[in-house]
């Protein structure tokens, strides 16, 4: 219950950060997708189902503030969350940089799904080299933020049950 409240607060914080703070912290015109980074953190710590559900909720919440079709971020981020959870579950031992690298790869994957599906449903601006550049930069930016974001995610997911192990905790859900 308390964990659910913490996750809901994390969701609100993600939307506020993405809509009110990060647009002013762009590098080369690109802001990080903090919701996607948090989704990766949730999937990494709690598994594919939790990652997919959080990614869907965070993406849908952010979609309400974008001019792209509602559901586009939700689709991309839920798929990304699921994929990260599956990959994390299949890895037996990780090195310290693995979550950062995984965040970068997940950022690229989520961004490409967003652009590809968006272009298919008529968002022509999501197709081309400029969009690809944006996806890569945003993924890189997100990967840099991952070490700051993941401990917060771990705190939000923490409950009074058995404590997960590892940098981000093991797969629980």
């Amino acid at each position: 219950m308390i964990r659910g409240i913490r996750l809901a607060l994390l969701l609100v914080a993600v939307v506020l950060l993405q809509t009110a703070v990060l647009p002013n912290l762009r590098i080369a015109g690109v802001a990080p997708e903090i919701g996607l980074v948090v989704t990766v953190g949730v999937a990494f710590a709690a598994g594919p189902t939790a990652g997919a559900v959080f990614g869907f909720a965070a993406g849908l919440a952010l979609d309400l503030f974008l001019s792209t079709p509602l559901g586009l971020s939700a689709l991309a981020w839920s798929m990304t969350g699921y994929g990260v959870g599956v990959v994390q579950g299949a890895v037996l031992r990780t090195v310290w940089w693995f979550p950062i690298a995984l965040t970068f790869v997940a950022g690229c994957f989520g961004g490409l799904v967003f652009c590809l599906v968006g272009a298919i449903v008529g968002q022509g601006q999501l197709w081309g080299f400029a969009a690809l550049r944006t996806v890569l930069l945003s993924a890189l930016y997100g990967a840099v933020l991952a070490p700051l974001v993941f401990p917060i995610v771990r705190f939000a997911l923490h409950d009074d049950g058995p404590r997960p192990s590892g940098l981000l905790g093991g797969q629980g859900w």
Partner: protein
């Protein structure tokens, strides 16, 4: 067996989420604004007080960040000089800043090119939350008479048009948005064209110009005001920055810089003008 069941349940959840997302995308993309629009507006109204508070709190961080990281993006010498001035005047007192703000606001009150059209002054409160769109949010909404499609201008010319509106806020699609297209006219040759936003660029591409049309750097583009135009005629839009003739003069690539410095917008005016159609 247990692991197999768990894996199957996980996949079912994913499939459910994907199907829900695709349904929403289809509904919205196929013009389901009647359903999706009110939900979007309600969310924006609900969160706007918190957004305003967070923006006010973090504005100094954004200003510092802008001064530190945007240097590489500023192409024109004019902007570089402004940044230099900004750094040199880092210790400007609060009263001096307030006076400048007041001057900008007053300059915005008497725009010479919008005489005869009612307008609503507004302050820019947020930049685009997404990486694939070029929009801003203003602190006026439908309760102030603003509606989707209305043109938005600032001291020097056209800023964009209203693309979304809730009760307390409105979203403005800037002329540089990749999905933006605006009907323009070259002032010198009186030729009509379309100025399009370009992804990842703060310049406009001017299309549909006949190859024999003489175009010079610095030439001004104003809104065409043709039938079904989304903007009144004669509003300054951009000035030509480069003309590149290619393919043995069969085509020319024209780039233009918006008249308004869209990266540093603070005050705008929304024209209470709905035009005659939805074309640029």
């Amino acid at each position: 067996m247990v692991a197999y069941r768990r894996s199957g349940r996980r996949r079912s959840v994913l499939v459910l989420l994907i199907v829900t997302s695709l349904l929403l995308i289809t509904l919205d993309a196929r013009g389901g604004g009647g359903v999706v629009g009110p939900v979007r507006n309600a969310a924006r109204d609900l969160l706007s007080p918190a957004q305003n508070a967070v923006e006010d709190l973090t504005r100094p961080i954004g200003d510092w960040w802008d001064g530190t990281f945007s240097a590489g993006e500023l192409a024109s010498e004019n902007r570089a000089l402004r940044r230099e001035v900004g750094r040199l005047r880092g210790e400007v007192s609060a009263s001096r800043a307030a006076r400048r703000e007041n001057e900008r606001l007053r300059a915005n009150q008497g725009l010479p090119f919008i005489t005869g059209i009612a307008s609503v002054p507004a302050e820019v409160v947020a930049a685009s939350p997404g990486n694939f769109e070029d929009t801003i949010a203003i602190d006026r909404g439908s309760r102030d008479g603003i509606a989707i499609g209305m043109p938005v201008v600032a001291g020097e010319g056209v800023v964009g048009r209203v693309s979304g509106v809730s009760r307390t806020r409105a979203t403005i699609q800037l002329v540089t948005d990749p999905a933006s297209g605006i009907g323009v006219r070259f002032v010198t040759s009186n030729t009509f064209a379309v100025a399009l936003g370009r992804a990842g660029s703060d310049q406009l591409r001017v299309d549909f110009v006949a190859p024999e049309t003489p175009v010079a750097r610095g030439e001004m583009l104003v809104t065409s005001g043709l039938q079904n135009a989304a903007y009144p005629a004669g509003l300054p839009v951009a000035s030509v920055t480069s003309v590149d003739r290619t393919r043995r003069n069969l085509d020319q690539t024209i780039l233009a810089e918006p008249m308004v410095d869209l990266a540093r917008l603070q005050f705008v005016r929304v024209l209470i003008w709905t035009g005659t159609g939805s074309a640029g």
